[in-house]
């Protein structure tokens, strides 16, 4: 175990299990309500999404596979004509506001020029086409959302200057002066525009918006927005801040291509993270936060029952969705010990504030710094877990059942991506998820059903 004061980063073989980045389609098509996602790949990709979407596939989601057949792979068919044909059909059946083409490993290998074909097809069919290369050669799981977000930033309208925007809003507010229910979105804010990025359910987005509103900060928009036609304006004067740790490419694109100013903060996961996130945004805008510490303490006291369950217990993150560092930091703050944080990819600059908060939290709770292992090796991790015997393992569904059969409590990591985990309001939800295996197995303990393996199995 590492005893120094600094975090150490290791890198293993990368033989680990995670979901393909095209899985982002499953939540993005729901988030962006007027979108259509076309995944250009093979049967393998299609079968994966079919299983990942589960019952949703029967509800005719706004998604389809452009399945590459032998003729496409051997360059016998014209890609442009094929894609145009498919997109025309999509336009006829669904008429979306945007078609997002998702490139896969196969399109990478055959070097299909999606970025070259897209503008032509866009002109021909009259629907915007956004190209995102969410492939397993370069990315893991949630980074799929990152590539789509980064691609969409190019389509956001250009922000006109703050003064112009202010005048425009004031004009608007004068004309509706007579309206009875005038809410304060028509008041001009005394801070530069703020755009938040990350795909979260609209309830969570509203919750975070209202947390910032309490500090007199108005959020101008979200990326991605609920509808493609409502994308926020971006430009030099716009400040951007992310809500998820896996959005490093989006952050870079916003800074370099749209010249926005990135606010680097820990992520709003857990009451400690949420407070730090709000504090940072306030400090950038020169606003003194009001009642934030009280709000945070209130939430902590609401979580007391969960904290009692977690205190002193150990956890091991096998790693697959890039949320691991934030979740680990939150759990450490709850009093848990984290042995290891496996993570597919660690962008140290984008996650700088989060890492620094992790360091501080460890110091504050007098807990040793966890190992951070990038591109882990699942087999080696399982051997390590056999030695360490953690109280809880957070792992993917490929390993959860076998680990449970060997008496190790597990929590499937994927639930963190589908559950609501951001903000003060949802802190309880996260702990509900994390403690569920502990609570369930506590009640099974007296039955003695901990090791359900036959002697011949290892």
């Amino acid at each position: 175990m590492n005893t120094s004061e600094t975090l150490t980063f290791e890198c293993e073989t990368g033989n680990y299990h995670t979901f393909c980045p095209i899985s982002c389609v499953a939540w993005l098509y729901q988030k962006i309500e007027d979108s259509f996602f076309l995944v250009i790949g093979t049967k393998t990709c299609g079968y994966f999404l079919q299983n990942a979407l589960g019952v949703m596939i029967f509800a005719e989601p706004r998604y389809a596979m452009a399945e590459l057949e032998e003729g496409d792979i051997s360059a016998q068919l014209n890609d442009h004509e094929e894609l145009k044909r498919l997109c025309l059909q999509i336009k006829k059946d669904r008429n979306p506001s945007v078609i997002v083409w998702i490139g896969t490993c196969t399109t990478e290998i055959i070097k299909m020029d999606l970025e070259g074909i897209a503008p032509k097809v866009e002109t021909e069919i009259g629907i915007p086409i956004v190209v995102a290369r969410a492939n397993g050669l370069d990315y893991a799981f949630t980074q799929g959302e990152d590539t789509v977000s980064a691609a969409i930033t190019h389509r956001c309208p250009e922000y006109k200057s703050w003064i112009d925007e202010k005048n425009r809003i004031e004009e608007k507010s004068l004309s509706v002066y007579s309206k009875q229910n005038r809410d304060d979105t028509f008041q001009s804010p005394n801070h530069p525009p703020l755009v938040l990025f990350g795909s979260v359910p609209s309830t969570v987005a509203s919750q975070l918006d209202s947390e910032l509103k309490r500090q007199s900060i108005r959020v101008s928009g979200w990326l991605p927005a609920q509808r493609y036609t409502e994308l926020p304006s971006l430009g030099e004067e716009v400040y951007v801040c992310g809500v998820n740790p896996f959005l490093s490419r989006t952050a870079t694109t916003l800074m370099r291509r749209r010249k926005c100013k990135l606010i680097g903060a820990p992520f709003p996961i857990g009451p400690d993270g949420t407070r730090a996130w709000i504090e940072k945004i306030c400090s950038v805008f020169g606003i003194k936060p009001q009642g934030l510490e009280e709000r945070e303490s209130q939430i902590w006291s609401n979580l007391k029952d969960y904290l009692d369950l977690l205190r002193g217990k150990s956890v091991f993150f096998m790693g697959d969705n890039l949320l691991e560092v934030s979740l680990a930091r939150f759990l450490i703050r709850c009093g848990m010990i984290v042995y290891e944080i496996g993570i597919p990819y660690m962008d140290k600059r984008y996650q700088a504030a989060e890492l620094s908060l992790l360091r501080d939290t460890c110091k504050k709770m007098h807990i040793l710094m966890p190992h951070i292992v990038e591109k882990p090796d699942n087999y080696n991790q399982i051997q390590r877990m056999r030695e360490l015997q953690p109280d809880l393992a957070i792992t993917g569904m490929a390993h959860a059942n076998p680990l449970e059969a060997r008496g190790i409590n597990t929590k499937w990591s994927v639930e963190s991506t589908s559950a609501q985990i951001h903000g003060f309001t949802n802190a309880k939800d996260v702990l509900e998820l994390v403690t569920r295996p502990l609570r369930r197995n506590n009640s099974l303990e007296h039955l003695g059903w901990t090791n359900l393996l036959q002697p011949t199995m290892i």
Partner: protein
């Protein structure tokens, strides 16, 4: 390129992995990019498998694209060889990595030199075959490899077992009710005094494959996987095989009679006669024949249905419905296009029309056109049925967690006939029930009660909070509404805003 939303059979590598992971002590290495190894998740979650899935991905990333994967693949093979000590390592690419056209056969040859276990490359064209065809091919490939090896080493024992015995070929992981069917087949064989020589690949050991020819004959319960192996064994070792699927009273009897023929052709003196067994089982042990005669089954006579699934199950169920229950099959179909000829031949005379297609929209259109009283199909047809409000019983893969029940639910053999009769009967009856409830407004009463409760309160929800409430999924909405109103009353709040909703959620005690 084609626009696809859903596929009935998975990609080829899934078939290979299913076969490889069914054997004991065989490890598969998947040469593929990150995320292609979702097979491990499927096996762990659907089969509720207690052991780690013996499949490791040798990850293809940018490095590999640039430099070639030789080193990585060979390293991974030798590593698994040391760590898990399997008897066989199967290397398989996926559609993506097969385009790289790397000389995987060469890697296998090189890895074989330094490893204790045998190493083979699954020989499958990923753009021409689907999951089922690949599984069939991989099984044959593995059997052939070990039999050839045994022949070379001179350990191939061609003498038959003393008493009649059979191999069961084609039971494997993630198969539709495969585990239960296997149990039922074993029971049936035991009743008849026939030994089970080997079951492959499920739980089989590659070390024992050399003993396959000792059985008197082979049983292939499902056409889709196992036929290639059976044909190979017939060609090379003269082993006969039964390809009749023992599903339903009539075909199970036929199956038993075929076994009787094979066994009697080997025996010189005492001949076996299973006729009395068949009669007893049909009339008294299985309840299906009696069910067909019982009065409430009369209601099913002439009812029209549509059947769709893999070739084996769709054909068998069609015959059972028509022959044994007097039900009218409007359309019988399968997605196993490569087996179209056999299927058409089987269902001819049993249905009005046959449908061979992989396109689920065609199936949906056919069902909508025919307007059957019930559907017997796959999970996709179950959802088509929900949409069209036609009851559906699931009789074939593609599979879903519902098809891995903890209880004993075979489709084959005499117990299978009971399960099928239950399934058919329940599909029709419960379908009727729903219609009756609808007619008598059975579902409305709950709505009315909830409505009246809320109009009695003094609380109002403003437009914004009402909108927020609508976003919450229906099955939780009532609870959240009640909780929020309770909180509001406690705090003396009369107008519920979005902030009140969030505050109520935070204050919720565990």
């Amino acid at each position: 390129m084609k626009l696809a939303y859903w596929m009935y059979a998975g990609p080829a590598h899934i078939g290979t992995l299913r076969v490889a992971s069914s054997f004991k002590n065989v490890h598969a290495i998947m040469h593929a990019p990150l995320g292609d190894d979702y097979f491990n998740v499927m096996r762990s979650m659907l089969e509720r498998e207690r052991d780690f899935t013996p499949v490791t991905a040798s990850i293809v990333d940018r490095h590999v694209l640039a430099r070639g994967s030789q080193e990585k693949v060979i390293d991974n093979i030798t590593r698994k060889d040391k760590e898990q000590r399997p008897d066989l390592i199967v290397l398989t690419p996926t559609c993506t990595s097969s385009i790289l056209q790397e000389d995987l056969q060469n890697f296998v040859a090189r890895a074989s030199i330094s490893s204790d276990s045998d190493v083979i490359l699954a020989d499958v064209n990923h753009y021409r075959v689907n999951e089922l065809q690949a599984a069939d091919r991989t099984l044959e490939q593995i059997v052939r490899y070990f039999l050839n090896k045994a022949r070379r080493q001179g350990v191939l024992n061609r003498s038959l077992t003393d008493t009649p015995s059979a191999n069961i070929i084609g039971i494997f992981t993630l198969g539709f009710h495969n585990q239960h069917d296997c149990r039922e087949l074993k029971r049936l064989l035991q009743d008849l005094g026939i030994g089970v020589n080997q079951i492959i690949p499920e739980g089989g050991s590659v070390e024992h494959l050399q003993d396959l020819p000792k059985a008197w004959f082979n049983i292939v319960p499902y056409r889709e996987v196992g036929l290639m192996t059976a044909k190979y064994l017939e060609r090379e070792f003269g082993m006969p095989y039964i390809s009749t699927t023992p599903m339903g009273i009539v075909d199970t009897a036929e199956f038993i009679r075929q076994m009787e023929n094979f066994i009697n052709s080997f025996l010189s003196k005492e001949r076996v006669d299973y006729e009395s067994y068949i009669n007893y089982q049909t009339q008294f042990v299985s309840q299906a024949a009696w069910f067909s005669r019982s009065i409430d089954c009369q209601n099913l006579t002439g009812k029209k249905v549509v059947v769709f699934g893999d070739a084996t199950h769709a054909a068998s169920i069609t015959k059972i419905l028509v022959r044994e229950m007097g039900i009218h099959v409007g359309c019988a179909g399968t997605y196993c296009k490569h087996d179209a000829e056999w299927f058409n031949e089987q269902v001819q005379g049993f249905c009005d029309e046959a449908l061979i297609t992989e396109d689920h929209t065609e199936v949906a259109d056919t069902i909508a056109r025919i307007e059957p009283s019930a559907i017997f199909g796959t999970q996709m047809e179950r959802h088509i049925g929900k949409r069209l409000e036609i009851p559906c019983g699931v009789i074939s893969s593609p599979v879903h967690i519902q098809n891995f029940p903890l209880g004993y639910r075979p489709f084959l053999g005499y117990e299978g006939t009971n399960q099928i009769a239950d399934l058919v009967y329940n599909s029709f009856t419960l379908g009727m029930e729903d219609h009756l409830l609808d007619i008598f407004g059975g579902h409305d009463t709950k709505e009315v009660i909830t409505k009246s409760l809320s109009t009695e309160t003094d609380l109002t929800w403003n437009t914004e909070s009402q909108r927020e409430l609508k976003k919450i999924p229906g099955f939780v909405r009532g609870k959240i509404k009640r909780n929020t109103e309770k909180f509001a009353r406690q705090e003396g709040i009369t107008t519920i805003t979005v902030d009140v909703m969030y505050a109520a959620k935070e204050a919720l005690s565990t």
